[in-house]
């Protein structure tokens, strides 16, 4: 069961490529599903990829007073997301480079912070508004997220993702315990909030007063916009993949070998698609919450996760 450096590197590369290409497709798929439920035809699933391709060649515009932060932020967003993808076990546990659940949170935070800073760097009211709202929602989501992760790592006695996955593979009875379900529910809510989906944020809104995430990236154009969009979609897919693997660990490759890797890829893709479908379906029937109702949702998630931790101790 020893991973050579080469195999680990290649698995990481594969994950990067897979997620980078797959994530816009997942967004396309989710849009397609929504459209279908609404009775539309909807754009093709590859539409996000097409948009990114188009944007890559368009003109880049920088706001008058912005600094280098504005230029660097999209790169940082994509880079940190790619690092996450590279070091966490997504297709295979072989890609684990000290992948720690808590470290994941902080790495995700880099992306959020850089986008928020770039928004403020534009010097517009929209940017500030979006940054303020996004950071507030993020701050409120953080406790629920970390406590949920805490609950998930308690049974394994480790916050190392690989360890958690491997140990839960050997102890399938962990998977259906109530604390785990509670924690996962909280985690899912946080994913929805962090990736700017309904009911926290409406990714398709054009109304300035209700948008959170869109407001931050209003100034980006051309390849920068493409990078931001790519980064955001990769974040979503990464979180879904992490969630999927933690929820149903089976399928992930725990030993070297191309067959295992292919199984791992397919199973992860299936998990992500399944979750994406779920989210898209739920979103259609949902209205966006008022911004100041969001804390209630986050508090609910926090309570769920605390309950998860407490019940894990009670059950034992």
């Amino acid at each position: 069961m020893h991973w050579t450096l080469l195999s680990r590197l290649s698995i990481s590369t594969l994950q990067i490529v897979g997620i980078a290409v797959g994530s816009p497709l997942l967004l396309g798929l989710m849009r397609k599903i929504r459209c279908r439920i609404e009775g539309r035809v909807g754009p093709p699933i590859a539409q996000p990829l097409i948009e990114i391709r188009k944007l890559a060649k368009r003109e880049r515009i920088r706001p008058e007073y912005s600094s280098w932060i504005f230029t660097v932020a999209p790169i940082v967003l994509v880079a940190t997301t790619l690092i996450l993808v590279a070091i966490t076990p997504i297709f295979s546990t072989g890609s684990s480079w000290s992948a720690d659940l808590f470290a994941v949170v902080f790495l995700l935070l880099i992306g959020s912070v850089s986008v928020a800073l770039s928004a403020l760097d534009t010097g517009t009211a929209f940017g500030g508004m979006g940054a303020s709202r996004a950071m507030t929602v993020g701050a409120l989501a953080e406790p629920a997220l970390l406590v949920a992760l805490l609950a998930l790592s308690v049974p394994a006695g480790s916050s190392n993702i690989t360890t958690i996955l491997v140990r839960s593979l050997y102890n399938p009875e962990w998977l259906v315990t109530p604390e785990r379900l509670l924690a996962l529910a909280a985690f899912l809510i946080v994913i929805v909030a962090e990736s700017g989906r309904l009911p926290v944020d409406n990714p398709t809104t054009h109304l300035e007063l209700t948008m959170i995430h869109e407001a931050m990236i209003l100034e980006y154009s051309g390849i920068d916009l493409a990078l931001v969009k790519l980064g955001e979609s990769m974040r979503l897919v990464f979180m879904l993949a992490l969630f999927g693997n933690l929820f149903i660990p089976w399928g992930i490759a725990t030993r070297p070998g191309p067959i295992y890797l292919v199984i791992g890829m397919l199973s992860t893709a299936a998990k992500v698609v399944g979750l994406g479908t779920l989210i898209a379906t739920v979103e259609v029937g949902m209205a966006k919450l008022r911004l100041f109702r969001v804390p209630e949702l986050m508090a609910g998630a926090f309570v769920l996760s605390v309950l998860a931790v407490v019940s894990s101790l009670v059950v034992r």
Binding site: Y65, A86, D100, A131, G138, V154
Partner: protein, 668 residues
């Protein structure tokens, strides 16, 4: 002959003070700063020497301090605080060479500043009550005087000074009572004999002295609800002083609590530590909420100090809790995490305060809403500020990440035990840590985004220039260390473990992995900040390169999109107030903002408003509800007491007569 470095530190500090007091205006700034640096270097060397050996460093003299004796002994625990204070001291003193604040150039300030630095370094070495309190109070009075140096410019300074003075005196009184209580039972005022007798003390003595000392040290550390002075005094102090106070002095409050709680008293019952954790959690939440809503840059930093101190106390409380429930190695981890956070907080808060002072000096304001656009005008200072902000937001690969991660780990591993108090405390602790982490990210996105990004919000900010090199060298030193220790934490972690073992017990096995990794043995979770840093650099380079490849970097600079309106001025930018507004809304019950709307109607119709004035303010709830009430109560008492001596000699004589009758009746 081997020079005693503790004595040398004392002498250098005093020499600096004297040099600062008696030389000319030009010389004294240099002399006192250079002596200050020398003091710090000497203290740093001493600390490093102690950290790398098993022997404490001792300096004693009975010729100093009447009827008590002066006694210093630096052990490895204290050495950590000395080292961290010395680093901040060196940076601040270098910074001061370029700082042109008028007040800090005065004779008094030049006299007091080296003394302040010296006491910062010597307090952790004091080993008897008198020496400790002596140094502690000199530190207090020196810092008070330094806070006051700009009293001519702003009336708030003297107000801040009064708050600080009273709170620090309250704390000192509490410390005095607590220590004396222990000293009486030990029949000696030395810490060592207190430690030796502490286990045989009646529990009420242990408990009351612990809590008295907690109050005393907590007030210095800025622990809620004893923090009220901190967000007033730290901002009003001149730059280097606020850095020293916020990055080094508050740590000594932590030092005291740990020294007493885990060292002298050798741990205590669970509920002590639950209280410490609760106070830490309260401070962290309260501090982070207020810093998220502050618009004054230095006030924001000060509240964030309260926040971080809260996190450290959370860690210390966890350490005590683990120790009291028999989890020695977990206690070690938690303590290491807390101390690591202390050391790192010193670095990033020092760099933040110093660079914030540079911004203030360049623009003449510390109101976030009149800064802005400074990253391009002051690239070096701006970058230093940015690095500090990212560190404090615990972003990898900077140092704040390592310590916060370790703190989370210690709490995670405390959970599997079946102890119910742990089961409640740890998830709540993690929740608090997470919420404050999120709010800190928000706060510093605000500080950077509103403060140094975007369009300049005022004319002075628009005309700002980079500060003198000495200033950014001082601040940059610290932010470079933020980066260095963030990437290679193994440079400091062994020392922190050594120094924690001094208290937890030297025979406790080291549960942490070494090398480039930070983490727990046995695959229980580890991070590799060095690898992360490497990856970030590589990936940023790759993606940046790709972007260049795909598209020539022809960028059009254009006016930001303003919905097509005619002009777009800096007044239309999002302000710091509005940035924090969602937080205020969400936590309205905690923050209880006060709003005041004055609208005057047109005389023709009351449906048309002629002018409207809206004022909103966010006072410290503890200040308003606790301290102002207490002060009002005292004043009420004082003004009523004034009626007693009404000037009539008859009344005065009657007091005497009553007393005489009482004496005669009682004793006759």
């Amino acid at each position: 002959m081997k020079i005693n470095l503790l004595a040398l530190t004392s002498i250098l500090g005093m020499a600096g003070a004297i040099a600062g007091a008696i030389t000319t205006q030009k010389l004294r700034k240099w002399l006192s700063s250079l002596f200050g640096i020398a003091t710090c270097v000497s203290g740093l060397v001493a600390a490093i020497e102690v950290l790398h050996s098993n022997h404490p460093m001792i300096f004693q003299s009975n010729k100093i301090l009447v009827l008590s004796g002066y006694s210093l002994q630096l052990d490895r625990f204290g050495a950590l605080f000395v080292a961290s204070g010395a680093v901040v001291g060196i940076a601040s003193m270098i910074f001061r060479l370029g700082y042109s604040g008028h007040g800090l150039a005065s004779r008094t300030a030049s006299f007091v500043l080296p003394l302040f630095v010296m006491t910062l370094l010597l307090v952790p070495a004091a080993t008897n009550v008198t020496t400790f309190l002596f140094l502690w109070e000199i530190m207090a009075i020196a810092s008070l005087l330094l806070v006051l140096v700009d009293h001519r410019k702003r009336p708030e300074v003297s107000n801040a000074g009064q708050w600080y003075g009273v709170m620090t005196h309250l704390g000192a009184a509490s410390i005095l009572i607590g220590f004396v209580l222990l000293a009486i039972y030990a029949k000696s005022q030395s810490f060592a004999s207190m430690e030796a007798t502490a286990h045989h003390l009646p529990s009420w003595v242990r408990t009351s002295s612990f809590f008295l000392l907690l109050i005393g040290f907590g007030s210095k550390a800025g622990l809620v609800p004893l923090h009220v002075w901190l967000p007033k005094a730290h901002p009003e102090a001149p730059g280097p002083v606020s850095a020293l106070m916020s990055a080094a002095m508050v740590n000594l409050g932590l030092y005291g609590v740990v020294r007493v709680g885990l060292g002298i008293l050798g741990g205590g019952p669970t509920w002590w530590w639950l209280t410490v954790m609760a106070l830490g959690a309260l401070s962290a939440m309260f501090g982070s909420l207020h810093s998220a809503t502050s618009t004054d840059l230095k006030r924001l930093l000060a509240y964030s100090t309260t926040d971080n101190i809260g996190l450290m106390f959370l860690g210390v409380g966890a350490a005590g809790l683990f120790q009291s429930t028999g989890h020695q190695s977990l206690a070690l981890i938690a303590l290491v995490a807390a101390l690591l956070h202390m050391a790192f907080h010193a670095l990033f808060k020092g760099s933040l305060f110093l660079s914030a002072s540079s911004l203030q000096q360049a623009t003449g304001s510390r109101d976030l809403d009149s800064l802005g656009g400074l990253l391009s005008k002051m690239p070096v200072t701006g970058t230093i500020f940015l690095i500090g902000s990212l560190s404090i937001a615990a972003l990898p690969p900077l140092c704040g990440f390592v310590s916060e991660w370790l703190l989370l780990q210690s709490m995670l591993h405390g959970l599997p035990s079946s102890n119910p108090s742990l089961a409640i405390a740890m998830p709540v602790g993690v929740g608090v840590l997470a919420l404050t982490g999120g709010l800190t990210a928000l706060t510093f996105v605000k500080a950077v985004g509103i403060g140094i990004l975007g369009q300049a919000r005022s004319k002075p900010a628009n005309d700002a220039h980079e500060v003198r090199p000495t200033m950014w060298v001082g601040a940059g030193l610290l932010s470079a260390m933020c980066f260095l220790f963030g990437v290679a934490p193994f440079l400091v972690i062994p020392s922190v473990i050594n120094s924690s073992k001094e208290l937890i017990g030297t025979n406790v096995a080291n549960p942490l992995v070494g090398g480039w990794q930070v983490g727990l043995l046995g695959n229980q979770g580890a991070i590799e900040p060095g690898l992360l840093a490497f990856l970030i650099v590589v990936f940023v380079a790759i993606i940046g390169g790709l972007r260049k490849l795909i598209q020539a970097p022809s960028v059009r600079r254009a006016e930001a999109w303003g919905c097509g309106r005619e002009t777009q001025t800096s007044r239309m930018e999002y302000t710091a107030t509005s940035f924090g507004e969602p937080v205020v809304r969400v936590f309205e019950d905690v923050l209880s903002p006060s709003h005041n709307l004055d609208a005057s109607q047109l005389s023709e119709s009351r449906y048309y408003v002629e002018a409207a004035h809206f004022h909103t303010s966010l006072d410290d709830a503890f200040e308003r509800r606790l301290y102002r009430q207490a002060a009002a109560g005292l004043r009420w008492w004082g003004s009523n007491a004034r009626r007693l001596p009404n000037g009539s000699i008859h009344r005065y004589l009657m007091f005497g007569m009553v007393a005489l009758v009482v004496v005669l009746v009682a004793l006759g």
